[in-house]
Subunit: 217 residues, 2 copies
């Protein structure tokens, strides 16, 4: 099997293979409408493909969903370090701790808004117990929780975050950031503002920092 699922026409990898196009369409729909709300036919239409082809590539809807989640999580894991590494470069040159944490939080928030598929896809299933959640937990969440906790503890050792229970703090920060993405459609409708704007995000982070910051001095 080819490692790069793209048509290798000419030199550069030009357009993605039909298989990845299906996965992308599936990610869009699963993230927006959930597993039950997304029919194979709808996914096929969005990908410009017959639904038989989806079955050919992925055998069943469950396996398509697993492949989709795997891809989105992989994209997320690929992208996340880029966001954090940039913050880490800042961290070396500038030495203002206050600014560092703010930058980190903003990058995480920016990341959440840049990868809404990940946030939505996860939360579509996260709050619904069942075999799909079980699969995600064993496949991704368990490791991710450990990584997140380790990151918090590292920040705590460097006096960047208050020394409270790392897991609870992880949930509070995750909640404060991800919740914003999750209710963004509502906020947009109610307030008329677009939460996915540079200005709104800056204000949100400023507020979060105003809460976090006194602890650090």
């Amino acid at each position: 099997m080819p490692a790069t699922p793209t048509t290798k026409t000419s030199a550069g990898q030009k357009k993605p293979s039909r298989k990845t196009e299906i996965l992308q369409a599936a990610a869009d729909l699963f993230a927006q409408l959930g597993f039950d709300g997304s029919s194979i036919n709808a996914i096929a239409n969005r990908a410009g493909v017959k639904k038989s082809l989806i079955q050919y590539h992925f055998d069943s809807k469950d396996l398509l969903w697993q492949a989709t989640v795997t891809m989105v999580w992989q994209q997320r894991n690929d992208a996340l370090p880029r966001y954090l590494d940039e913050a880490f470069i800042q961290r070396i040159t500038e030495n203002d701790q206050q600014y560092m944490v703010r930058d980190l939080c903003k990058r995480l928030l920016q990341f959440s808004f840049d990868q809404p598929q990940w946030v939505r896809l996860m939360f579509q299933e996260a709050s619904t117990p069942g075999p799909r959640l079980d699969w995600m937990v064993e496949e991704f969440f368990r490791e991710d929780f450990a990584n997140g906790k380790a990151m918090i503890e590292l920040a705590q050792e460097r006096e960047l975050l208050p020394r409270v229970d790392a897991m609870n703090l992880l949930h509070i920060l995750s909640g404060a950031l991800i919740y914003l993405v999750n209710v963004a459609p509502i906020t947009a409708k109610v307030t008329g503002e677009d939460p996915n704007s540079e200005e709104y995000m800056d204000r949100h982070i400023d507020t979060l920092m105003a809460i976090l910051s006194p602890q650090l001095r």
Copy 2:
């Protein structure tokens, strides 16, 4: 039409009417599996009722969903003051601001866990743009946002919360509390702990307070 949808056998309101039993079953399923994941048949089975009866009482699945959401939101609006009033009584007798805010947060968290249906039902649709979300926004969220913001601002006037943007703070606090309920199934699986336990909630609140508190002194 009767105001109290219960069979008025004898004096006290004994068992609920079939209509409310259907609504309760619908709330359970909609909250757990979402709109698309819950079939009328499944709801009927859970309520011990034929699906024709659901159609008789509610005409269509959409109207059943609206009636369900209305009921759950009403239950929530009925219950919420009880939680907050108790905190308000505490607020008068004891005068330690630190404790007051902690108590308030804990009551809100306890409330979220006591009424998981509300949290889940809202978030099943909250992140999915569409006619159902539009309906909820106009029917409930717009007013609720205003109330929440007013509550934050009141607390700010009393120096109970830091004076930052009220709407952002509302989102951060809501996120920190509701997120915990939303990912509780995951947390339970990953850590082996039950987030819906007195001990876990206390730790979570302690962490939140440790972040919020320095601001108040």
